[in-house]
């Protein structure tokens, strides 16, 4: 999927993208291009990227790259794919019913779900909120068990 959406492998690329996306939601997908769930998420992202292009930018970050490891630690990424949302270089949290509000883990069932999530983030950000609640019903949110430091 690398050829469809901008894929970042270096920390400075990620940094510059975070810094340069102004007044738009930045969707960063951390994942592997060999994982099936990641591929499905990438498909959804690619297809919806144009629809949200006026208020969001989508990019993929390869988790295997050595420079990105620091981000993995910083963002506490253990499951793949993980999607993190930024707005004006500030990280946006979303409460989707799970313990981890800082990122979206897993894929989206429909393109519309993804668009709804990005819209919710954008609306919250424009109002000045750093955390928003998820507009999707719980059955459509992927479930996972969050491990605290591998316990």
């Amino acid at each position: 999927m690398e050829y469809l959406l901008p894929t970042l492998r270096e920390k400075r690329e990620v940094d510059s993208l975070i810094r340069d996306t102004i007044d738009k939601v930045l969707v960063l997908r951390f994942g592997l291009s060999s994982d099936s769930v990641c591929l499905q998420l990438d498909d959804v992202l690619y297809k919806s990227a144009k629809d949200v292009s006026r208020f969001a930018t989508v990019a993929l970050v390869d988790v295997d790259s050595p420079e990105i490891q620091v981000y993995l630690k910083y963002f506490d990424i253990t499951f793949v794919p993980s999607t993190i949302f930024f707005f004006n270089a500030h990280h946006m949290k979303m409460d989707s019913g799970s313990a981890d509000h800082t990122k979206w883990i897993g894929t989206f069932q429909k393109k519309q779900d993804f668009v709804d999530v990005v819209e919710a983030i954008y609306r919250g950000a424009m109002k000045g909120k750093l955390i928003v609640s998820c507009p999707l019903p719980p059955e459509r949110i992927p479930k996972f068990e969050l491990l605290y430091k591998n316990v």
């Binding site: 007044d23 500030h90 949290k93 800082t102 950000a125 000045g128 430091k149």
Partner: protein, 421 residues
Amino acid sequence: MNHEIMKKKKKKNDNGEEQQFEFCEVCKLNHNQGRRHIYFPAHKSSLSALLTRLQSKLSDVKPFLKTPMLLPAEHAQQNRLWCVFCNRDVIELDTPFACGKAIEHLASGEHYKRVKGFLWKHGGGTHRADSFRVVEGDFKKWEKKCKAMKTEAAKAEAVGASNNIHNELNADYLNSFHENNTNSLDFNITNGVVVPLQSYTNEKVQVSCSVPYSASEAGSTSYDMRGRMQMVDAQCLKNSTGFMDNHLSSSSHVDYLSNGSVQPGVKVFHGDSRSLNSMNLQKISYSSKEAIGGNVHTGATPPWFNSAEENEIMQKPELSNFVNSKAGKSSKLNPKRVGAAWAERRKLELELERRGEVITKDYDANWLPNFGGVWQSGTRRKSRKEFQVENKKSLEFDSQSESFVPLQPYISKRMRRDKSE
């Protein structure tokens, strides 16, 4: 019988909401209120709207019941009536008379039954059933009139075989009137003669539409065609004066009006026309101005373009102002939005960079975005600092791996803090 059924129903269902859902065609709504529904004001208003609409359509048909007209086949297709009670279209097929099929349908017994049933079901008042149908007596009268018309038409054709110009024009004129009754504006073909659209065809349609009503109002029982023609002519002239005032601006028509004194007799109409075709068309004399200006054949620009250019120039500056003001409204983003300060700063930096003043503000390779940690319970700055501290410590740890290190498991501040909580 009906009352008994209703009583039974009432006994079974004391609670209204337990009745089955039904669809009310008038309100286009599913409800479980049973027979109560028809008395609700919403239903009553939608029912009255429906019936008024239907009545207006029926009132269009009623005049043809009193005075049947001949209708050529091409125009019949445009006259169709949707019967609400029978839920079907009544198309005018195989009938030479205007609204013939509609009248037949409205007079039929089956339709009457349905009307009564509909009114009972929807509470319209079964006594009103007669206003939605054609009574047998009226229908029979209509049929008689139709027959009479047919025989008269046959006679007229026989008479028209002779080379009497007067009669020929009469017959043709009558036919054209019938065509105009159908409210169609594109009557290019009349009796096989191709007639080019003249500038005032609109009024002719309007005029002749009002004719049958006025004729029927006059209550002329005699079906002598010439007599009717005279009446019709008089009416026509009267109406045409009014219409021409409204529709036409050409000066030449003023002459026509002055000539058109209301005189009985057909001659007035025919006197002005010198054209070969049977339609009584009047020649418009072009004023010399128009001839110089050019026309379609010479390839001149249409007059609306000439005036439009002037307007455009006037309007364009207004349009651009309008667009600018609108853009100004939306470009001012909410100052309270997330990261607003950062965004403003960044925008300025980018502007400067774009202008060419390269600002060598290389960000620290260790720059990290603002991130609220997963298990964090403080400000975000704290999480970044803690991470950096952790990183440093881990680096130090690595570097010191070779030297002797007391065997003590390192517990980070965060872990210590969380454990205590």
